[in-house]
């Protein structure tokens, strides 16, 4: 069966379609909002919000008795927001630092969530089975109406982001300056954080609370490697998020007993690694390659220079020098054999006797030129 048929077959599966679409949307929205979170140094806030969402989900169920996505999401968003406010309040009023406040609120809220879950477990309505899917996500349980909810909420978030684009850009770069221009910084901050909370909350059903933070951070971190422009970064981040979501959904559906949430996270992590290594300019692989090229160039020049020195000492340009001499002279930089090979190809050296090397007339010229250059620049 060819690729098209294969893909066709995959998407013919209703459940898989729902999962893929849901995962793609969560990827896009979190990639986009995650960009701002990362730029504002709030990478781990996503972790905090997602862990804090757990009690909200449980409470929403306890209060409304409903397991509808919307109700649970609202509960999640509420406690997520409260957690954020609490963290800010702790930092503002005590000498407890941000990371401590974050870890504290995160673990306490999550612990409380577990208390509620185990409480619900005992209720006559064996309801808890549906709720602990939020721990690690259970994308396979995504229904069409869940996907619609995710889509609508995600769409609203993206629209808001587009509308207030320049305000959010300004807020993220220089909030004091924004204030001096007359923008209500606190309101904008609240708005942006709310969008982040919604973005996180819509992904919980797919990836779960424990892993959600990766979906906020990874696409953005990856995208940053490819561009220096905010608009491009945000777009690429959304694309990466969708890519991770869909591939994760596909892969986990093909193999048995591989949960979707972790797979999506690993796809996202792979994208990050790929970007870190291979992105043009910032990619570390290129840096490594550049370094190697430079080093080799230096070595070749050094060997040429050594031969020049030897030639001047011996007053006999054609006289061959044993390779061991060159190796001794080169103990600071190495790479003699390779350098000689390259120099021979360029016609700058010759091998008058076996294992003995000398400069050609062209080589003498080149070496002379280089040595003048060195003298000028040092």
């Amino acid at each position: 069966m060819d690729i098209v048929g294969f893909v066709d077959n995959l998407f013919a599966d209703y459940t898989l379609r729902q999962v893929a679409i849901g995962a793609a949307m969560l990827g896009i929205v979190n990639g986009v909002l995650g960009s701002f979170a990362v730029l504002r140094k709030q990478s781990l806030l996503g972790d905090g919000i997602s862990h804090a969402a757990l009690p909200g989900i449980a409470l929403a169920f306890l209060l409304t008795g409903s397991k509808s996505s919307l109700a649970l999401l609202l509960g999640a968003a509420a406690t997520g927001w409260i957690a954020t406010l609490l963290i800010m309040s702790i930092v503002k009023h005590t000498r407890v630092k941000y990371d401590t406040a974050l870890g504290l609120v995160l673990s306490v809220f999550f612990g409380f969530g577990l208390v509620l879950l185990t409480y619900i477990q005992k209720l006559p309505v064996a309801a808890q089975a549906g709720l602990d899917k939020f721990l690690f996500g259970q994308a396979a349980t995504l229904l069409r109406k869940d996907v619609v909810t995710i889509g609508v909420l995600g769409g609203i978030v993206l629209v808001f982001l587009l509308v207030f684009w320049k305000e959010f850009k300004l807020l993220s770069f220089d909030p004091d300056f924004a204030f001096s221009l007359g923008f209500p910084v606190r309101i904008l901050d609240v708005l942006l954080t709310t969008l982040l909370v919604i973005a996180i909350v819509i992904g919980l059903q797919t990836v779960g609370v424990v892993l959600m933070s990766a979906m906020v951070v990874a696409p953005a971190a990856a995208a940053r490697q490819w561009t220096d422009r905010l608009g491009v970064m945000v777009t690429v981040s959304g694309i990466f998020g969708a890519l991770a979501g869909v591939s994760g959904a596909l892969i986990s559906s093909q193999a048995a007993r591989i949960p979707t949430g972790p797979t999506i996270v690993l796809c996202a992590s792979a994208i990050v690694m790929f970007s870190l290594l291979l992105a043009p300019n910032r990619g570390m692989a290129w840096g490594f390659v550049r370094e190697q090229i430079n080093r080799r160039q230096l070595q070749t020049d050094a060997v040429l220079g050594d031969l020049y020195v030897l030639a001047n000492q011996h007053q006999e340009p054609g006289h061959g020098h044993p390779i061991e001499v060159l190796r001794t002279m080169a103990h600071g930089h190495g790479g003699v054999d390779r350098s000689l090979k390259v120099l021979k190809e360029r016609g700058l050296v010759q091998e008058p006797g076996s294992g003995e090397w000398a400069l050609t007339p062209l080589g003498m010229e080149e070496a002379g030129r280089l040595s003048r250059q060195w003298r000028e620049t040092s």
Binding site: L39, K41, V163, F164, W165, K166, E167, K169, L170, S172, F173, D174, D176, F177, A178, F179, S180, L181, G182, F183, R224, T227, D228, R229, L230, M233
Partner: protein, 272 residues
């Protein structure tokens, strides 16, 4: 300190004494927790002057700027810009923060940052367009950064970063400028360029208040000076205020300020 006493006169550097001062600060007191950072500061900046604010570290200079703009809340006191509260006059005030107050790794270009200066005029939702771009390029030309307009800001030197901030302030076309240590850590060429720019702004009738760290250059660069050390020690034209006694009071450790009471009344006899 009453303003009658200051003898702020007419005809100094061509200022019309009938107009409101560009910035007036009265009884400004700011505290962080228990610690007073600014105490009962009275200060007036006449329109059209180029003023330096100097004082030792922790003297509250940055806090003064921020308090004028409402970025920090004072415990007491009042600020007015041309006679009206700052919040009503934000459009008239341009702010140049310290260079290290932003993350220069943010993915944006020089031109983009300068255009942000026009956001206030654009207001909500409207996108910057050709007019904004033109204004930004003009400002960049003025600071000598026009050919770096497309450069990513993380690739700029300290002096270049400062020029970008200045260009961003220029496009605001404000009447009063508050600058926080614009000369900090810039190369000599940039420093000269900034001074030239500031003097040009003054000749255009703008008022510029600069938090400055280098005492040596005060008389050369500025015509007015405020000496601050939690309290306002002195404020006035450089020839009058930038004198030994005031400098000693400002930097000498013990804080005090001049009142119309004789020094003996306030501080006791010299032997004490």
């Amino acid at each position: 300190m009453t303003f009658q006493d200051k003898g702020i006169g007419e005809g100094k550097s061509g200022i019309d004494a009938g107009t409101e001062p560009a910035v007036r600060v009265e009884d400004l007191t700011v505290a962080y927790g228990d610690k007073p950072v600014l105490w009962d500061v009275d200060m007036e900046v006449q329109a059209g002057v180029l003023m330096a604010v100097i004082g030792p570290n922790g003297a509250g200079k940055t806090t003064l700027i921020k308090a004028i703009m409402g970025l920090v809340q004072p415990v007491a006191g009042y600020v007015s810009i041309f006679g009206k509260p700052y919040l009503d006059q934000r459009r008239l005030v341009g702010y140049v923060p310290q260079r290290n107050s932003v993350d220069w790794d943010f993915p944006t270009s020089v031109l983009d940052v300068v255009m942000m200066g026009r956001y206030g005029v654009l207001g909500w939702l409207r996108r910057p367009g050709r007019a904004e771009r033109k204004a930004a390029m003009e400002a960049l030309t003025k600071v000598g950064m026009a050919d770096l307009a497309g450069r990513q800001i993380s690739q700029l030197s300290g002096g270049q970063q400062q020029r970008v901030f200045l260009a961003r302030a220029l496009v605001q076309d404000a009447r009063v400028y508050l600058m926080d240590e614009p000369f900090q850590g810039v190369d000599a060429t940039t420093e000269r360029a900034i001074v030239t720019l500031l003097k040009e702004m003054r000749s255009e009738g703008k008022t510029v208040v600069v938090v400055h760290h280098d005492l040596q250059t005060v008389p050369e660069y500025f015509d007015w000076v405020t000496l601050l050390n939690v309290r306002c020690v002195a404020s006035g034209p450089v020839e009058e205020a930038f004198v030994d006694r005031n400098l000693r009071l400002t930097y000498g450790g013990r804080v005090s300020y001049l009142t119309h009471h004789t020094p003996e009344e306030t501080f006791g006899t010299p032997e004490e």
